[in-house]
Amino acid sequence: MKLNQLSVFLENKPGRLREACDILAKNNINLITLSLADTEQFGILRLIVDNSEKAKSALDKNGFVAKITEVIAVEVKDEPGGLNDILKVEEDAGISVEYMYAFTIKSGENAVLLFRFDDMDEAVSALQQAGFNVLSSKEIYQRATN
């Protein structure tokens, strides 16, 4: 149920983000979605790509620090209060969000959100029990390539 996310350390220097994207492009890696968290001194680029292992080794070879971390993708109704419902479930289960971002793709009429929780296994079971659809990586890649 969990999805591999590739995180890349980016020093805040001009051209550093482009350089990382350039390496991924040259290695024919497709970006499905991404988010960038930054401080004034460094940033963390978080990516969902079609081949995390290949992307990591390409970045490693080019002097980047990259790491694979698990996240989960959850389907949510694309309507007011949709995100709120998910957060309520996790809050009741005593689980905190470390970070989250969204997919650009839709799953039917639903939006897809990405989460990293402090307790990933508990988070998945809480969501499933509440009736949320937690997407597998296979489903994500299929929808991304359609």
Binding site: S7, I44, G63
Partner: protein, 442 residues
């Protein structure tokens, strides 16, 4: 607008001895010192290792056959292995920062403290301090020798002390105005801070009564001195000392302001080539080496200061005959002085070793924006230490910062940088980028 220089007053006759008289006095005192260090097992062993016996040291030239003492030697004797007297006879301890987070402890007997006050009084008098003056001491009081050394020196002159201690600039300036302070004791970079505060708050010059400042505790340039003199309209005098040898009072400037007179009745100064360890010619730059002649608690033989300066044996127009040393122009090791604290780059490496997952690749950058030293440690990111969570990354920075502070005593900025971006050096790594030096601030 520079202030008028004070009248030239020479406090002690010993400042004007002929070279013959001085040699005689130094030789006699050297014999006493050599006898005293026989109580220290470290020295006995070091002399034996160098193949020199105490009895064979007859003239001042014989001093060169004695071994040098280094900071590492002192560290090896932590805390009190260098004590030459009964501990019960110690009146005071001070300490200087070391490479390991442990200070080098120094001890003083009653006579040592009297000598120390006298020597500080000597350079303060040479720089114009008189009994009717009020002196504000904006040095740290504590293990650091600066605060207490100058404090007792000012009292020895008979002037009054305001022990303001370091920091709180608005309060310093308030005291300077309300108490009509005549002289200021601090680091030159702190004096710039005070000066900036006075200028930016439009405090009229006649609200202050400041005439002189006595600077020490860190290296500084002539430009800095000129700037403070013209901004505050005062005369600034440089002095030098280090706790391993005594503290402030080893030397200080007279009104000729052309080098610091070394109190040769209490110290023998040598200037050596740090590589060959041979003496350099007079006027040539080298590493200063001092032997104490009257210290009782912790006499020191041929201490390698690592400070680079030159010695000038020419008589001074002020009438003093003692040899003069130039301002310190550098170090023969990699020690840095940041906010008056001694820091060795190897301390950063030790700190990083304490933080799991960090690489041993780092660089320290020191700058002095707004007259305050700011040190930044750049650390290369590794996969182990990296996390996709911002909170964990901030915690990593905090952990590194705390480790650095634990060892150096200083809070430094931490910057995480890409791997393999810090320069790699074959041979001795160059870890330090001192922008203060590049900008001519030190």
């Amino acid at each position: 607008m520079n202030a008028k220089l004070p009248e030239n007053i020479i406090r002690d006759k010993a400042e004007c001895l002929s070279r013959d008289e001085l040699t005689c006095l130094q030789t006699e005192r050297l014999h006493d010192t050599i006898a005293r260090v026989q109580n220290v097992p470290y020295y006995k062993e070091a002399f034996a290792k160098a193949g020199t016996s105490a009895e064979s040291i007859k003239t001042l030239d014989d001093l060169r056959r004695l071994p040098f003492t280094t900071k590492a030697d002192l560290r090896g004797q932590y805390p009190l292995g260098m004590l030459a007297i009964d501990r019960a006879d110690v009146l005071r301890f001070h300490g200087s920062s070391g490479t390991t987070g442990k200070p080098t402890m120094v001890a003083y007997t009653r006579n040592d403290l009297v000598m120390w006050s006298d020597l500080c009084a000597r350079f303060l008098t040479a720089g114009g301090l008189r009994p009717e003056h009020t002196v504000q001491i904006a040095f740290g009081y504590g293990l650091f020798t600066g605060g207490f050394g100058l404090h007792y020196g000012v009292e020895r002159v008979g002037a009054s002390v305001i022990p303001a201690a370091a920091g709180n600039t608005p309060k310093q300036v308030m005291l300077m105005m309300d108490m009509q302070t005549d002289a200021l004791v601090c680091t030159p970079s702190y004096a710039l801070n005070i000066s900036e505060f006075i200028l930016s708050n439009d405090i009229p010059r006649d609200a202050l009564n400041l005439k002189y400042a006595y600077f020490g505790g860190e290296p500084w340039t002539q430009d800095m001195s000129d700037r403070i003199e013209s901004e505050l309209g005062i005369a600034c005098f440089n002095n030098y000392g280090l706790s391993e040898v005594l503290g402030p009072g080893i030397s200080g400037e007279c009104i000729a302001k052309n080098g610091m007179h070394i109190s040769e009745d209490y110290f023998i100064a040598e200037c050596i080539n740090p590589k060959t360890l041979e003496p350099v010619a007079p006027g040539e730059e080298g590493e200063l080496v001092f032997t104490s002649l009257c210290r009782e608690a912790m006499p020191i033989i041929r201490y390698r200061t690592r400070d680079i300066a030159s010695l000038n044996p020419e008589p001074c127009k002020c009438g003093r005959t003692t040899i003069r040393m130039s301002r310190i122009t550098g170090r023969s090791d990699d020690m840095l002085i940041i906010k008056g604290v001694n820091v060795y780059p190897s301390q950063i490496e030790q700190a990083l070793l304490r933080v799991e997952g960090t690489a041993p690749h780092y660089q320290i950058e020191i700058d002095r924006p707004n007259q305050t030293d700011v040190a930044t440690v750049q650390v290369e990111m590794t996969e182990t230490a990296f996390s996709s969570s911002m909170k964990e990354m901030q915690e990593l920075k905090e952990k590194i910062s705390r480790a650095v502070q634990g060892i150096t005593g200083l809070r430094m900025n931490i910057e995480l940088v890409s791997p393999n971006t810090l320069e790699r050096f074959t041979g001795k790594a160059k870890r330090v980028k001192d922008l203060r030096r590049e900008k001519g601030l030190i």
